[in-house]
Symmetry: C2
Subunit: 279 residues, 2 copies
Amino acid sequence: MKVVYTKNELKQEIQKVKKSEKTIGFVPTMGYLHQGHLSLVEIAKKETDYVVVSIFVNPKQFNSQEDLEKYPRDLQRDLELLKKENIDLVFAPSETEIYSEEPKLMMDIPELTNKLCGKFRPNHFQGVLLIVNKLFHLVKPDKAYFGKKDYQQYLIIKRMVEDLNMDISIVGCPLVREENGLAMSSRNVRLSDKEKEDALLIYRSLQIAKQEFLKGEKNSEVLREIIKDIIETGKNNKVEYVEIVDPETLESQKVAKSKNMIAVAVYTGNVRLIDNIEL
Amino acid sequence: MKVVYTKNELKQEIQKVKKSEKTIGFVPTMGYLHQGHLSLVEIAKKETDYVVVSIFVNPKQFNSQEDLEKYPRDLQRDLELLKKENIDLVFAPSETEIYSEEPKLMMDIPELTNKLCGKFRPNHFQGVLLIVNKLFHLVKPDKAYFGKKDYQQYLIIKRMVEDLNMDISIVGCPLVREENGLAMSSRNVRLSDKEKEDALLIYRSLQIAKQEFLKGEKNSEVLREIIKDIIETGKNNKVEYVEIVDPETLESQKVAKSKNMIAVAVYTGNVRLIDNIEL
């Protein structure tokens, strides 16, 4: 496994791979890797010849300086984990390497970014679009892998690639949970034991709402109230949103239908967690 | 010279070229080619191994339905001209081929698009950014060629490529004029004989202002008035803007300096013409 820190080193490696006609699989991450990331890596390894993982905590997609500063980082730990996975290349650039000049270009997909998390995190997805677009041009992957925990992000990236005719397959991969059901997230390490217990209510509420849906409850408002009530029995929990949406358009649905997605965002203590379930 | 009309055909050709390790030069056009376009083609032929020209009248960059409808088109004539130039590939897609789905992604570089022509043509440059970005991903050029008559466009594209780390050199090529001084434009065919005569005042006014500048007149306001007055002696002319700007930022300059650019947009009859000169 090779580790490079600059665009130039990366470019040289990618040129070599392109000449060898190997296919490139790419997993962009913000580091502090967990089993969710590693599951993406494993799918990439099965589907492509040469796997690149990037580790870059992108300041442009954070809304609060506090969240950015508290975002966990441990490059050595990440590199050890990736070494065990036997991937080919890690790109771990500094902030100045990526934003050597302040970008002036802005990208947006308003129809998709003005919903769910986008409503509460102004400029978050615009920051995601920009960094992923940049990384795609640097890594030149054939396939790129995104977890469906960040479902809205996956959808936005897929749409960007389609609208710009980028020659990249976007692969959405299943959300990975801890044994207790909590959706894996790098932010989970910031939870205290008591908060972690409260955080378990998130997935539990989604499961119960899904059971109610399967038993016949189609009223979105009712299902959302069930979820909100369960989650907020946790003293550290504050629901930011619960929405039942069409998985292609992210439009809110008044009547829940099969294949709709329930998406939630919750503050557990100071930590913002998201989760989703398909009906 | 091969002519393709679909993204799939284009992709196949480009794949072959990429395997052969030839460099690709790309000249995106809206057709109705003139000597200005052909000068780009000739530079591309000198600098790269395989030259692609696209011909696509992009509806998303027009502000008025009338301008779009009246934009001159003659594919057979264009193909004959390009055949003589002995280029390798023409991509001439239909509107539905390019916009098979209505794009949801929006791109902008507000600092550069809110000035000069961008002030008067809302969404024009956003449309240019989108189509050029799409074409770049389809054609995968090493170098792309833009005329400096559309200087603002050239600057915006260059910035897009830098901000997105696209691996493409943007080459700005000199403005080409008719013998009488009129900047070459596909729109010139829409001018009547009398209008054409009036249109000659545009470049003449720029030359005179430059002479005044070289003789010592540094006051932008004065230089702009000189230009406006000369142009509007033509009965069919109406100045849209005259600006003296920094060629990197496009910021208006109160005191004209060497290397600044004078940019003008003029309606001659119903035809919008632009021109510029370096001080």
